[in-house]
Amino acid sequence: MSITGKDVEYVAGLARLALKDDEVDTYTAQLQRILSYVEKLSELNTEGVIPTAYSVSTSTPMREDIRAVSLERDEALKNAPSTARGCFKVPRIIE
């Protein structure tokens, strides 16, 4: 798979990153190297192997529907750059 500068700009856009032109070039080359390395895996014969994203064969554990203690509001908002009205204050979102 070959990576172009356009791919890098697209992914950067999704991640809300503003890249300068020379950075696009840098990351295009870097991503290309990473993908080529990972592509080595396709040389393996995986016939008959069920695809999975998980390396362990167990299933997810479940918890009972019982309340636990939540954070105090002050604690919850402590790391926020800006707060008001007991909320996280953010630039206006218009819909």
Binding site: Y54, T60, M62, I66, A84, C87, K89, P91, I93, E95
Partner: protein, 479 residues
């Protein structure tokens, strides 16, 4: 040109769990902002989600009610996007392998029963809520309350089988009945516990290929569903008639203006970059859990309505009203069990009980008159102990006071006079006191019967048995 509308609905159902989908924070509605949050639902680094068992049970229950195929193995995925109500930067949802697929729901339409296919049901977490600032100082800000973040939802996606706004409303109502009956959702649309997105497109009548669809977002009332779809049908038809084309886009229904508006901010196609959630292993439904769910399925609204008609021989209309909620149906059945009088009981429950509850803005679950005390009253009327006018008075009394019907009747000296001997002497003295009317009656003015009944009721303070009075009057007046 004449068009056919094609609609698919995505219904979001908030599951009635105590706690969130992946953490132990409360899901209770209406708490102060950001008081039901913890490191997991705030998306702090290093935390791990743990799946709520009851949410899985509720998803399975819904899937069973909708005759879905249940995938005993399903997978959670990350849906990536940026929005201030989504603290992690992704929503945990299900994508390629949802918990259930291929179900259906039968709805009632003007042309009879119609089957709507269910494509899939998947589990996901809700996002938080954004409040928007008002006034000069707050105008350029929004405020994120994350209490709702991570609250468990199921999304029920229908096939594009719906052909009109009416069908869409019927489908939504039937779906709401089911999730409320099965106890998986409180059904509160105002609080957003039950809401939908509608995919609407039109095509020239007779054409098979679907038109381009618009997605109408976040509709939370039956009326809005109808209004939004009808507006959208017209908008798309006008566009096509003018030679234009429909753009695939997300539109928001403005309920105040009754129109749909393009959400420009979301015009560019989303790339959610779904991938399997690395923090959660696949969900494998234990066999015992599935068996338990199937064994404890309650009777569903349609089945209950049909049974009421066949078992109690009450009209379909009555059955429909009485099965509107599970609590009301249970109330009615408790009354019938005592009275063995299905239709009379139905009249009382649909009439007086629902009337007074509505007046007081109360729910049947909160009705101060227990089925047993109402049943006693119904039985007294049926047995002729009191007449229906008295019964209404007694009803008010027992509803308010907690007394039994017998106690009220006794205290008020209301027992109906059915003794013919006693009534004959009353009737004779009334006839004697009104010789003119008696003469005119004998002369053929039969409507005077009412006058005599009235006089006798007055004389007996309403306690005379009207059937017997009527019968005796005819005999005595024949002269």
């Amino acid at each position: 040109m004449s068009y056919e509308t094609v609609i698919g609905l995505e219904i979001h159902v908030q599951l009635a769990t105590e706690t969130k989908l992946f953490c132990g924070c409360s899901t209770e509605f209406g708490a102060e902002p950001n008081t039901q949050v913890c490191p997991v639902c705030l998306g702090m680094p290093g935390v791990l989600p743990v799946l709520n068992r009851r949410a899985v049970e509720f998803a399975l229950r819904t899937a069973t009610a909708l005759d879905c195929t249940i995938n005993t193995r399903s997978v959670f995925s990350r849906k990536n996007y940026f929005y201030p109500d989504l603290p992690k930067g992704y929503q945990i949802s299900q994508f390629t392998e949802p918990v259930a697929e291929h179900g259906h729901l039968d709805i009632e339409t003007s042309e009879g029963t119609k089957r709507i296919g269910i494509t899939r049901i998947h589990m996901e977490e809700d996002a938080g809520k954004l409040l928007h600032g008002e006034g000069a100082e707050e105008d350029s800000y929004s405020f994120a309350d994350l209490n709702r973040a991570c609250v468990p939802l199921i999304e029920i996606v229908s096939e594009p089988d719906i052909r009109s706004a009416e069908e869409a409303v019927a489908y939504m109502k039937a779906m709401r009945d089911i999730v409320v009956y099965t106890g998986v959702c409180d059904g509160n649309m105002e609080h957003g516990s039950f809401r939908c997105d509608a995919n609407v497109s039109i095509r020239p009548v007779g054409r098979e290929k679907f038109g381009t669809r618009a997605e109408l977002k976040n509709i939370n009332s039956f009326k809005f569903v109808k209004d939004a779809i009808e507006y959208e049908e017209q908008r798309q038809a006008d566009l096509l008639d003018e030679g234009g084309t429909v753009v695939q886009e997300t539109r928001l229904f403005d309920s105040a203006k009754g129109i749909t508006v393009s959400m420009r901010s979301k015009e560019e196609a989303h790339d959610y970059r779904y991938f399997d959630e690395p923090d959660l292993l696949p969900l494998v439904v234990p066999g015992a859990m599935l068996e338990e769910v199937k064994a404890t399925m309650p009777e569903l609204p349609r089945a209950k309505r049909d049974r009421f008609v066949s078992e109690y021989s009450i009209p379909e209309y009555d059955a429909g009203v009485l099965t509107a909620t599970r609590a009301l149906a249970d109330y009615y059945e408790a009354v019938v069990k005592e009275t063995k009088e299905p239709k009379a009981s139905s009249n009382w429950v649909m009439g007086e009980v629902l009337r007074v509850l509505k007046e007081e803005n109360r729910d049947i679950t909160d009705c101060p008159l227990e089925p047993k005390r109402l049943a006693e009253l119904v039985t007294m009327v049926k047995g002729g102990k009191i007449n229906s006018n008295m019964a209404k008075e007694v009803f008010e009394e027992i509803y308010k006071s907690g007394k039994t019907a017998a106690e009220v009747v006794e205290a008020k000296g209301m027992t109906q006079i059915s003794d013919e001997g006693e009534l004959v002497s009353q009737i004779d003295s009334i006839i004697a006191a009104n010789p003119d009317e008696a003469e005119r009656f004998r002369g053929g003015e039969v409507k005077l019967q009412g006058f005599f009944v009235g006089q006798i009721m007055k004389a007996t303070r309403g306690q005379a048995n009207p059937q017997i009075v009527n019968k005796l009057l005819k005999e005595r007046l024949k002269g």
